[in-house]
């Protein structure tokens, strides 16, 4: 009986975890848009605009290309589901991840890989040039981000001697915020996150200019509910990466029911503030830089990878193990 109760609690908490992500994702998007508007001295759309956009798109009629097959309609659904799967291993507001197992840090990148596979296939569905262009570039950037992402997380795993993201976040609490290898790993992950979020200098989320778009290129054929799902998945992915970075910079540790209602609410507010601050930071970065040429992307991402490798070397040097 106790076991069933345990499983049920776990299940409910898992659903709560996902629900929180689902609810907060458009809000973060709105916040980033607002922050960018702030730097551009504009009023900007209201913070709740992304919710309205999604609702509007969900109600609209959907146009499907005559060349598309069933993958065209399946892809947005799997993309959203895959992104949520990635969300299951990210420790949320209470430092708890529903799918926390030994080695789950590999699951995060792999789930995003599944998302990428279906997105790029969907880009080829329309038989047009823009979709193919988007897919080609996305694949190129994707393969360059992967080593940096994995190496960055691996270094954190070595620092804390845990391979689950939840364990890493708990372990990081006792690590000094100025730990050099942690900072280097953070730089690597930050650079990867920018590329993964499809932001400047890798991609520009605000443009539909044929020659520059990457993510939007793959989405060009989509409309109505499917477009809503894809945009939503992108917002969720952005939130996940921000939460991950926030938890590395200021780990909040595990918070359980024993901390009382106030404690849990406070943790929720704390993560909100952290994510908002990071979102503002990335909006600032985006306002300060320009988008780079595609073939400059390897330089940028190689910088990320090298800082991850440096993080690894410095970790062992500091510990006196080399």
């Amino acid at each position: 009986m106790d076991e069933i109760f345990m499983i049920l609690t776990r299940l409910l908490m898992g659903i709560g975890h996902l629900a929180l992500i689902v609810v907060a994702a458009p809000l973060v998007q709105g916040l980033i848009k607002k922050s960018k508007a702030f730097w551009q001295m504009r009023q900007g759309p209201p913070i709740l605009q992304p919710y309205r956009d999604l609702r509007k798109l969900l109600k609209k009629e959907e146009l499907v290309s005559e060349h598309a097959s069933w993958i065209f309609l399946l892809a947005p659904r799997i993309v959203l589901a895959g992104t949520l799967m990635a969300g299951l291993v990210i420790p949320g507001a209470w430092g708890w991840a529903p799918f926390s197992v030994w080695g789950d840090l590999f699951l995060f990148g792999a789930s995003l890989g599944l998302v990428r596979l279906f997105l790029t296939l969907a880009g080829l569905e329309g038989a047009g040039t823009f979709g193919g262009m988007g897919s080609s570039r996305e694949l190129f950037i994707g393969l360059l981000t992967e080593p940096a992402l994995l190496l960055g997380l691996i270094v954190l795993a070595f620092i804390t001697e845990a391979t689950s993201l939840q364990g890493i976040m708990v372990g990081l609490q006792s690590v000094s915020p100025l730990d050099i290898s942690k900072i280097l790993a953070l730089i690597a992950l930050g650079m990867v996150s920018i590329a993964e979020m499809g932001r400047i200098p890798m991609d520009n989320p605000d443009t539909h200019l044929e020659l520059t778009m990457i993510h939007e290129g793959m989405l060009l054929e989509y409309s109505g509910p499917s477009l809503a799902l894809l945009n939503f998945a992108e917002q969720i992915k952005q939130l996940l990466l921000l939460v991950l970075l926030a938890q590395i910079i200021w780990p909040s540790g595990l918070i359980s029911f024993s901390d009382g209602l106030l404690g849990t609410l406070w943790a929720l507010g704390f993560i909100g503030v952290k994510v908002a601050a990071l979102g503002f930071f990335f909006a600032t970065v985006e306002s300060l830089f320009v988008k780079r040429r595609l073939f400059r992307a390897p330089h940028y991402l190689a910088t990320g990878t090298s800082s991850a490798i440096l993080a690894l070397i410095s970790l062992w040097i500091i510990r006196g193990q080399i």
């Binding site: 080695g103 792999a110 393969l143």
Partner: protein, 645 residues
């Protein structure tokens, strides 16, 4: 041979092959379920006193595992061949060479797996090479295929020379061909002797496995062979070579120095990267798959390397993880690569082209083949929820544990770097297979042959779907596969090692949870988003008409990769514009892109050139003058007299 007769022979032979495989699988499962000591110690067949005088065979847990793979591969590809061979029969091509060599090839692989002494091994190894060579040569009408088979023949014999040398050397040292006698004698050998034997085995077996830089034959042979043979060669034969690494190096030559492990790791990483990079820029359906086999063999090599390193660092946990990853990935690669070769075979029979630039839009015309292929690409790119990922997952952890438990040294940097290499390989393989699937199955047809393509014979799409079903099943019920993996592990386990059930059972049962959750979430999203109307329209093309040539090409899709890795890929491009007067009025544009096989050009060509140069100089000795030969005789006599003094 008449058409009718040919049909009955095809059905009879392939049916027999399937029945034999099925019976073998069932009988083997019953036998192993009963268990017994023979799994660990081995069950010797037809062994007489004085090994080396007769052919000796042995069956133990390690063999059982690879026999399982062989039988499964045999059953599946025979089933597929049942449909595939119909085309040859319709073309009135004699099926005898195929059918006979098919059986002999399978039998010789059995021989290699069961061999218990050097002589038996070499004999069946040679037979395996020879009969697979005949199978590659089956479509000998095409000169390209003859060339491919020839390269295969030469490379495999260079390898055999090394293997023979090593085996004869061991015989000279120990006076026996038996593996057991070698294992006993190994501690008495000097390090340099051991290293020499190891290197000969490494190159000899590595050539068959497809390790870079001995891989050059693989893309030729695997793509020239008829598709069922490609499935068997990529899925099974390559694994047989890897089996021998465990049998001859791990079990017989023993732990060895640390650098053996590093060699496996480095060559594995190199193979993985070179394999997948070359695959990503191919536009030949089957050549791409063959290069991806090299990549996967590289991943298996990294797993072996991690196991070897863990063994020399006494890290039983990492060793177990590495081996579970190795065996898991072996099964998964067999399944997915067979599946993809079958898919490629269907496309080739439907369109009669291997060039992806002429395909496109096949998913609508061959939906069942396409569905199978989609499962295949998710598996082969090592993405969750399918099995390809869970193998790499274990491998990552093995590398992590290996590093974390190491006291100090630069190894702590290099080992995690191979995780980075694997990540890069993963990204590249996504690009490769999105191209393979997306260009052939999605979008518009790029030629009339693709437009007129029809779904293959039912057997030919049902078999890949069965393979896909097995792959999904292995993820849903990983404990069955783990029980199978336990068999070779019980042979390999030396000394006290952690049980696999506790440490490894959980992460792999994760696979079923992940799969179920993903499907559940997808269904929820589908149900929730099911509203509104859908209308089929033209693709947006800025208002212009959309022609098939406006699509991205196979070459274009991965062109950024080609540009970034120009040097590694030996990529050359030449663009020439024909201008009318000014540079703004272009009449025509010619583009020529070429990929040189870097290893072929920078390593094998000079080597062959050197050999020819050397022999042309040696030929001067043979001037044809009788006086010269008399002089040689005189010199020989003098030398012999001096030596025999």
């Amino acid at each position: 041979m008449g058409n009718k007769e040919s049909q009955s022979f095809r059905q009879l032979f392939m049916g027999l092959s399937i029945v034999l495989a099925g019976a073998g699988l069932i009988w083997g499962t019953i036998l192993t379920c009963r268990g017994g000591d023979w799994i660990k110690t081995g069950f010797q067949l037809f062994t007489e006193a004085g090994a080396g005088l007769s052919l000796t065979w042995k069956l133990d847990g390690l063999t059982v595992f690879f026999l399982f793979i062989l039988l499964l591969g045999q059953g599946l590809s025979s089933l597929y061949a049942l449909g595939y061979l119909k085309e040859y029969q319709d073309k009135n091509k004699s099926l005898w060479p195929f059918l006979i060599n098919w059986f002999l090839f399978l039998a010789s692989m059995f021989g290699v797996l069961l061999a218990d002494d050097g002589f038996t091994f070499l004999l069946s190894w040679e037979m395996m090479s020879l009969f697979s060579f005949f199978l590659v040569l089956y479509e000998h009408e095409d000169p390209q295929n003859r060339k491919s088979a020839y390269i295969y023949f030469v490379m495999t014999h260079v390898a055999t020379v090394l293997l023979t040398t090593a085996i004869l050397y061991l015989y000279a040292l120990t006076g026996s061909f038996a593996f057991e006698a070698w294992a006993k004698a190994v501690p008495t050998l000097s390090t340099s002797q051991l290293n020499l034997i190891f290197l000969a085995f490494f190159i000899g077996l590595g050539t068959k496995a497809g390790f870079v830089p001995f891989h050059i034959w693989l893309p030729y042979a695997h793509s020239a062979a008829p598709s069922p043979v490609s499935a068997l060669m990529s899925g099974v034969m390559v694994k047989v070579a890897l089996y021998l690494f465990i049998r001859l190096v791990w079990l017989t030559l023993g732990p060895g120095p640390v650098w053996w492990g590093w060699l496996f790791l480095l060559v594995g990483a190199l193979s993985a990267i070179v394999g997948i990079l070359s695959a990503s820029v191919q536009s030949d359906l089957k050549k791409l798959l063959a290069f991806s086999t090299i990549e996967n063999v590289g991943i298996l090599g990294i797993a072996l390397g991690s196991a070897f390193l863990a063994r020399s660092w006494n890290n039983s946990w990492a060793m177990n993880l590495a081996f579970v990853a190795f065996f898991w990935h072996t099964i998964q690669h067999m399944l997915f690569k067979s599946l993809l070769f079958m898919g490629a075979g269907n496309i080739i029979q439907a369109t009669h082209t291997r060039n992806m630039e002429r395909l496109g839009g096949l998913l609508k015309r061959m939906p069942k083949t396409g569905f199978g292929a989609l499962i295949g690409i998710i598996g082969i790119t090592a993405l969750p929820p399918l099995g390809g990922f869970w193998g790499e997952f274990m491998l990552f952890q093995s590398l992590w544990v290996n590093t974390a438990h190491l006291a100090n040294g630069w190894s702590k940097v290099f080992l995690p770097l191979s995780i980075g290499v694997l990540a890069l390989v993963g990204g590249l393989s996504i690009a490769t297979f999105v191209k393979w699937f997306g260009i052939s199955f999605l979008g518009q047809a790029r030629s009339t042959v693709a437009e007129k393509a029809k779904e293959a014979h039912p057997v030919q799409y049902i078999t890949p779907l069965i393979v896909g079903g097995l792959a999904v099943l292995s993820v849903l019920w990983p404990s069955a596969i783990l029980a199978l993996i336990n068999l070779p592990l019980s042979v390999l386990r030396t000394g006290d090692v952690l049980g696999i059930s506790s440490a490894l059972g959980t992460p792999l049962n994760l696979s079923s949870t992940y799969l179920i959750l993903l499907i559940l979430l997808t269904v929820i999203v589908i149900v929730l988003s099911k509203r509104g109307i859908r209308r089929v329209t033209a693709t947006w093309n800025c208002g212009g008409p959309l022609t098939p040539s406006l699509q991205y090409t196979a070459g274009g899709l991965t062109n950024p990769i080609r540009v970034l890795f120009t040097k590694v890929l030996g990529s050359h491009r030449h663009v020439e514009g024909d201008f009318a007067g000014t540079q703004y009025t272009l009449r025509s544009l010619t583009y020529e892109g070429k990929l040189k096989e870097v290893f072929e050009y920078s390593f094998y060509r000079p080597a062959i050139g050197g050999l020819i140069w050397l022999s042309s100089h040696i030929r001067k000795l043979q001037a044809g003058s009788i006086h010269l030969y008399l002089a040689y005789l005189l010199v020989t006599v003098i030398v012999v007299l001096i030596l025999g003094r």
